[in-house]
C-alpha cells in the first residue's frame, strides 16, 4: 500500500491501491479516460472528477490532450470525458462535435467563464472614472506605449480566442490599438512585468484564473452583453455598428464520448452531477499556481473538506 509521487499528470492514476472500500461492482473495469489541458484549473476539475469516480469504484486515467484537438479523440472514443469546455472559446467546436452524434454535452460544471478587459488598480489614479468604459475614451495616452502613442495599447488574447476586440474598439470609438499575445503565458508574463514596474497596462483576463486573485485590479464595465449587440448594429451606443458592448459570460460545460453513457451508465450520472463554483475553483487555482501547492494535494484537501458535496454526486 504505497502511494507514489506522480509528477506527471499524464500518468495512469490507477496506482494507489485501495481495495476494500469499493462501493459496488461497476459496469466495466476499463478505465474512463479524462483529458487534461495546460491550465491548472482544468487539471483540478479533471482530477476531482477522476477521484470521485474512483471512490465510486470506476477506474480512471488522465490523458493529456490539446483543448480543441481533443474533439477528434472524443468522437472516436479514444478519449471519454473533457471536463471544461468554455462557452466563450469552445462553443463552435462543441456544437460541431455534438452534431456528429458522437459527442454528448454532459451539462454545466457550475462555473461561469468571464472574459473582459482588465486593468490593475493603480491605473485608477491615472485614468479617473474607471472602471466605467467611458473613462477609456480620454485615457488613450495613459495606456499608451512608444509603439502605439498617442493611442492606448490593449493586449488581447491569442488570435484564436476571437473576442471581437478590434470591432469593439471601433464601435465604441476607443482610442486604443489591439495587440495580440500568442499564448496566455505571454499574456500574463507581460502583466507580471508591468505590475512590478507599476506601468500602464490593460489586457484580456479571464476567470476562473489566479491572476485576478493575485493582482489588485478590476474588469472594465462595458455596456452589458446582449445577443442583439453582436448581431444588430442598431442596438446600443453606436447605432451603426455591432459589438458596442462587453463580452458575453458563459457556462463551462462537460463533454464526453457518446458511448460513455452506454458503457458506464453509473459514471455518466455522477459526471452529470459534478458541480463546483467559481469561488471554490478560484481558491484552488490560487493555491496551486500562486502558492505552489501540488495539484494532487490541493485536490486531496478539497475532497477532505467537501465530503458531503461529492458524496451527494454519487447518489
Amino acid at each position: 500500500m504505497r502511494k507514489m509521487l506522480l509528477a506527471s499528470v499524464a500518468l495512469v492514476l490507477a496506482q494507489a491501491v485501495t481495495v476494500g472500500d469499493l462501493r459496488a461492482e461497476v459496469e466495466s473495469p476499463d478505465p474512463i479516460r479524462l483529458t487534461t489541458h495546460d491550465w491548472s484549473g482544468q487539471v483540478i476539475s479533471a482530477t476531482i472528477m477522476s477521484e470521485v469516480l474512483r471512490k465510486a469504484g470506476y477506474n480512471t486515467e488522465l490523458v493529456q490532450a490539446d483543448y480543441l484537438a481533443q474533439f477528434a479523440g472524443l468522437k472516436t472514443g479514444d478519449l471519454h470525458l473533457a471536463m471544461e469546455i468554455w462557452a466563450t472559446t469552445g462553443t463552435d467546436a462543441l456544437e460541431e462535435a455534438t452534431a456528429t452524434g458522437n459527442v454528448v454535452n454532459f451539462g454545466e460544471t457550475g462555473m461561469i467563464a468571464r472574459e473582459e478587459w482588465w486593468y490593475p488598480a493603480y491605473m485608477e489614479e491615472r485614468c479617473p472614472g474607471l472602471p466605467d468604459w467611458r473613462a477609456l475614451l480620454d485615457c488613450g495616452e495613459a495606456f499608451s506605449t512608444v509603439e502605439t502613442a498617442p493611442n492606448g495599447r490593449y493586449l488581447g488574447g491569442p488570435v484564436t480566442w476571437g473576442g471581437y476586440d478590434e470591432e469593439r474598439v471601433e464601435a465604441l470609438g476607443l482610442p486604443f490599438e489591439v495587440v495580440h499575445a500568442g499564448t496566455d503565458a505571454a499574456l500574463f508574463a507581460e502583466l507580471q512585468a508591468a505590475y512590478e514596474r507599476q506601468d500602464p497596462i490593460i489586457l484580456w483576463i479571464y476567470e476562473p484564473h489566479w491572476a485576478p486573485a493575485k493582482y489588485a485590479g478590476r474588469f472594465i464595465e462595458f455596456p452589458p452583453y446582449d445577443p442583439a449587440c453582436y448581431s444588430d448594429p442598431a442596438w446600443g451606443e453606436n447605432p451603426d455598428m455591432a459589438y458596442d458592448c462587453g463580452k458575453p459570460l458563459g457556462p463551462i460545460w462537460k463533454a464526453g464520448w457518446a458511448g460513455l453513457e452506454g458503457k458506464w451508465p453509473g459514471a455518466a450520472k455522477i459526471i452529470r452531477n459534478f458541480s463546483i463554483t467559481n469561488d471554490e475553483m478560484g481558491a484552488m487555482v490560487y493555491k496551486a499556481d500562486v502558492e505552489g501547492v501540488s495539484i494532487d494535494t490541493v485536490v486531496a484537501e478539497w475532497m477532505a473538506a467537501n465530503e458531503a458535496t461529492w458524496q451527494a454526486w454519487l447518489n
Binding site: 509521487l5 509528477a7 506527471s8 499524464a10 490507477a14 495546460d38 470506476y58 488570435v159 505571454a186
Partner: protein
C-alpha cells in the same frame, strides 16, 4: 570576362532598383494603372488547396482501406507495436508493474530505484569513455534527482529510448535503400526536405487521429522530425566508403548482402554515428512540443511552470533537458569513437564484470528500497531548488534596467525592424514572383529559377503572400543579426582552444534548452511583439553560425597559414587573405543552417503573437484545420527549400570559380 562581370552587376542592381521602386510606390502605380489586383492578391483567385487537402485527409482518416482493413486500423496496429515496448520501459523505471486493472490492480514490482539508474549511467560512461565521462553522466542524472525532476526525467528518457532506436533504424534502412536504388534516392530527397522543414504543428492533428491520443502520437511526431539526418548521413557514409575497400570485399567473394553487412556498413559506421548523435539531439528538441500532445515528462514541467510564471522551476526543468541531452550526446560520441572491441582472451564473465555488478545492484535495490523508502522515492526534504532566484533575477532586471532595454528596443524597431517590414510588405506579389525566379535563376540557373517560381506561385495562390513576407522579414533580420554576432565569435573560438571549449558548452545549452524557457522572460522584458520574437530566434539560430565558422577556421590547412606567415602577412592580412577565404564555404554552410533554424523557430514565435506563417500554422492547429495547417506548413518549407538551394548553388559557384582560378 570584364563585360560578363559588368552585365552581372547591371542585372543585380537593376533588380534591386525595380524592387525598391515597386515596393515604395507599388500602391500608387497599381492604382494609376487600375491594376489593384497586383498589390493585393484577389480572393477569387485563391486555389483553396487547404479545403481539398482537408477533404483528402478526411477520406484517408475515415474511409480509406487496404483490403479488409481501414487505413486507420493499420496505423493503430503500428501504434500498438510502438506502445508495447514503451509501456514495458515505463513500467520498469516510472510506474512499476501491476496485475489487473485500475483500482483492482495488485502491484508486482515497483519502479526501479534511482540508485541503479545513476550507477548505470556512470558505469556506461566509464566503459565508453573513462572516468571523466563516468563523472559527467552520473552528475547529469544526479542533477535530475536532486532537483526533484526524477519522475519526469524518466518519462522523457523512456520516450528517448523508444524514439531514438526507431529513428536510427528507420533512417539507416531508408539510407541503405537510397544508396542501393537510385529511384528511392530521388523520391526520398524532396520528402526528407519536407520532413525537416514543415513545422511539426502542421501535421499534429492527422497524427493524433491516426495514432490515437497519448504518448505514441508524440513519439511518431518525434521520429518524423528526428529521422531525416540519419537517412542523409547513412547514404553519405555508404557512398564515402573507399572503392578499394569495396573492391577487396568483392574479391573475397562477398555476395551483395554480405558486402553491405560485412564491408560497407562497418566502414561507414563512424560517419553514421554522427547521424545517431543528430537523432538524439533532435529528439530532445522535440520534448516540449511532444509534451503538448501527451508525452508528459520534462517538457510538461517546463510548460506548466511557465504558465504559472514560475521562471525558476521552468529554468530548472529546462536545464534538466539540457543535462540529459549533453549526457546522452557525450555517451553516444564516446561509443562512436570507441569502435568495435577486440574480444580479449579472458572469460566473458570478467569482460562484462561491470555489467554483472550493475545487475547485482539492480536486483539488490528492490529489497533495499523496501527497507529504505528514500531509495524508492527521493525525499522532498532533500531536494535542492533555485527557489525564487531566477524569478528574482528577471524582476531585478525588469525594475532596474527597463529604461535602457526600452531605449534599445525602440531604436531597433524604428531604424531596422519597421523599415525592413514596410519595405518587404510593400513588394507587390506579382513582382515577388518575378523576383524569386530572377534571384534563384541568376544564381543557380534556369531550373532553380523555375522551381522558385513554382514554389512562390504556390504561396501566392494560397493567399499567404503577406504572411510569407512577414516571415522573410522576421527571419531575415534575425539571420543577419545572428551572423553578425555568431561569425566573429566562431572565428575567435576557431583560433583559441580555451574559448572553443567554453563556447561549445554554451552552444550545447542553447541548442537543447527549450526556447520556451527564455521566451517568457523575454516577453516580460520586451513585451509581446516582433522584437521579442526576434530575440528568441537569434538566440536559437546563432548556434550554427558560431559552430560552422569555428569549424571552418579550425579546418584551415596549417601549412597554408605557415606559408602566409613566411610571406610576411600581418595578423590582419592572415585573417583576411588566408583564413577567411578558406573558411568561407563552411561559413556559408553555417548561414544555410542558421536560416533553417530561424525558420523552425517560427512556430515558437507564434506563441508571442507574430503574424507570420508560423502563426497560420498555429491557428490551424488550434482550430484542428488540418488542410490549412499543411498548406501553411508547406509555405514555410518552400521558403526554406528555396533559400537552401540558392545558397548551395552559391557555394558551388564559388568553389567552381576558385578551382578554375587556381
Amino acid at each position: 570576362m570584364i563585360r560578363a562581370r559588368a552585365a552581372r552587376w547591371a542585372f543585380w542592381l537593376g533588380l534591386a532598383a525595380i524592387t525598391a521602386v515597386l515596393s515604395l510606390n507599388g500602391k500608387e502605380i497599381s492604382q494609376a494603372l487600375g491594376w489593384t489586383w497586383a498589390t493585393r492578391y484577389p480572393q477569387a483567385w485563391q486555389l483553396n488547396l487547404d479545403r481539398q487537402i482537408s477533404a483528402a485527409l478526411k477520406w484517408l482518416l475515415e474511409e480509406a482501406s487496404l483490403g479488409p482493413f481501414r487505413f486507420r486500423d493499420v496505423t493503430r496496429l503500428i501504434s500498438a507495436l510502438i506502445e508495447a515496448p514503451y509501456t514495458l520501459l515505463r513500467g520498469l523505471v516510472v510506474e512499476g508493474f501491476a496485475w489487473g486493472q485500475g483500482q483492482q490492480a495488485v502491484p508486482i514490482l515497483p519502479p526501479m530505484s534511482w540508485l541503479p539508474v545513476i550507477l548505470g549511467a556512470g558505469l556506461l560512461g566509464l566503459r565508453l569513455g573513462g572516468a571523466r565521462l563516468a563523472v559527467l553522466a552520473a552528475a547529469a542524472f544526479l542533477y535530475l534527482l536532486l532537483f526533484g525532476l526524477w519522475q519526469s526525467a524518466m518519462v522523457t528518457l523512456v520516450s528517448v529510448a523508444i524514439a531514438v532506436p526507431l529513428g536510427v533504424l528507420g533512417g539507416a534502412a531508408l539510407g541503405v535503400a537510397a544508396f542501393r536504388l537510385r529511384w528511392v534516392d530521388r523520391a526520398l530527397r524532396p520528402v526528407l526536405d519536407l520532413m525537416q522543414t514543415v513545422p511539426v504543428f502542421a501535421y499534429l492533428v492527422p497524427i493524433l487521429i491516426l495514432f490515437g491520443f497519448g504518448p505514441v502520437a508524440a513519439l511518431v511526431a518525434t521520429v518524423i522530425y528526428a529521422m531525416p539526418p540519419m537517412v542523409r548521413i547513412t547514404t553519405m557514409g555508404l557512398r564515402s566508403v573507399p572503392d578499394e575497400v569495396v573492391e577487396a570485399g568483392r574479391m573475397a567473394g562477398c555476395t551483395a548482402r554480405q558486402l553491405l553487412w560485412k564491408v560497407q556498413l562497418p566502414s561507414a559506421r563512424r560517419v553514421m554515428m554522427v547521424g545517431v548523435n543528430q537523432v538524439i539531439m533532435l529528439t530532445l528538441n522535440m520534448v516540449i512540443i511532444a509534451s503538448m500532445i501527451g508525452a508528459g515528462g520534462l517538457g510538461y514541467d517546463v510548460l506548466t511552470a511557465l504558465r504559472k510564471l514560475d521562471v525558476g522551476r521552468g529554468v530548472e526543468a529546462g536545464f534538466g533537458i539540457v543535462v540529459l541531452a549533453i549526457a546522452l550526446d557525450r555517451l553516444s560520441q564516446a561509443a562512436a569513437a570507441l569502435g568495435p572491441q577486440e574480444p580479449g582472451d579472458r572469460h566473458w564473465l570478467w569482460r562484462n564484470r561491470g555489467l554483472l555488478a550493475w545487475l547485482a545492484v539492480v536486483v539488490a535495490s528492490y529489497p533495499l528500497a523496501l527497507i529504505f523508502p528514500a531509495l524508492a522515492v527521493y525525499p522532498e526534504g532533500w531536494q535542492l531548488s533555485t527557489g525564487g532566484f531566477w524569478g528574482a533575477v528577471v524582476s531585478w532586471i525588469n525594475l532596474n534596467l527597463y529604461d535602457q532595454i526600452e531605449a534599445a528596443k525602440v531604436a531597433a524597431l524604428t531604424y531596422v525592424l519597421v523599415p525592413v517590414k514596410t519595405f518587404l510588405l510593400g513588394i507587390p506579389w506579382a513582382w515577388g514572383l518575378v523576383l524569386a525566379a530572377a534571384i534563384a535563376g541568376g544564381i543557380g540557373g534556369w531550373r532553380l529559377g523555375l522551381m522558385a517560381l513554382a514554389m512562390t506561385g504556390f504561396i501566392v495562390s494560397a493567399g499567404l503572400w503577406p504572411q510569407a513576407m512577414v516571415t522573410v522579414y522576421l527571419c531575415g533580420v534575425s539571420v543577419v543579426i545572428a551572423m553578425l554576432i555568431g561569425v566573429p565569435i566562431g572565428i575567435l573560438a576557431g583560433q583559441n582552444d580555451r574559448a572553443h571549449a567554453a563556447v561549445t558548452v554554451v552552444l550545447d545549452t542553447l541548442q537543447t534548452l527549450p526556447s520556451f524557457v527564455y521566451l517568457i522572460p523575454v516577453v516580460m522584458l520586451f513585451r509581446v511583439g516582433d522584437f521579442s520574437a526576434m530575440i528568441a530566434v537569434v538566440l536559437y539560430a546563432v548556434v550554427p553560425a558560431i559552430r560552422y565558422a569555428a569549424m571552418g577556421i579550425r579546418g584551415v590547412d596549417p601549412q597554408l597559414v605557415e606559408a602566409g606567415i613566411v610571406s610576411g602577412c600581418t595578423r590582419g592580412q592572415l585573417m583576411r587573405k588566408v583564413k577567411l577565404p578558406l573558411a568561407m564555404p563552411s561559413i556559408l554552410l553555417g548561414l544555410n543552417q542558421t536560416i533553417m533554424l530561424a525558420l523552425s523557430m517560427l512556430v515558437i514565435t507564434a506563441l508571442v503573437g507574430t503574424r507570420d506563417l508560423g502563426q497560420e500554422v498555429y491557428i490551424a492547429l488550434t482550430k484542428a484545420n488540418a488542410g490549412k495547417g499543411i498548406v501553411a506548413g508547406l509555405a514555410v518549407a518552400f521558403i526554406a527549400i528555396m533559400s537552401d538551394r540558392i545558397i548551395t548553388a552559391a557555394i558551388a559557384r564559388r568553389t567552381a570559380a576558385r578551382e578554375s582560378h587556381a
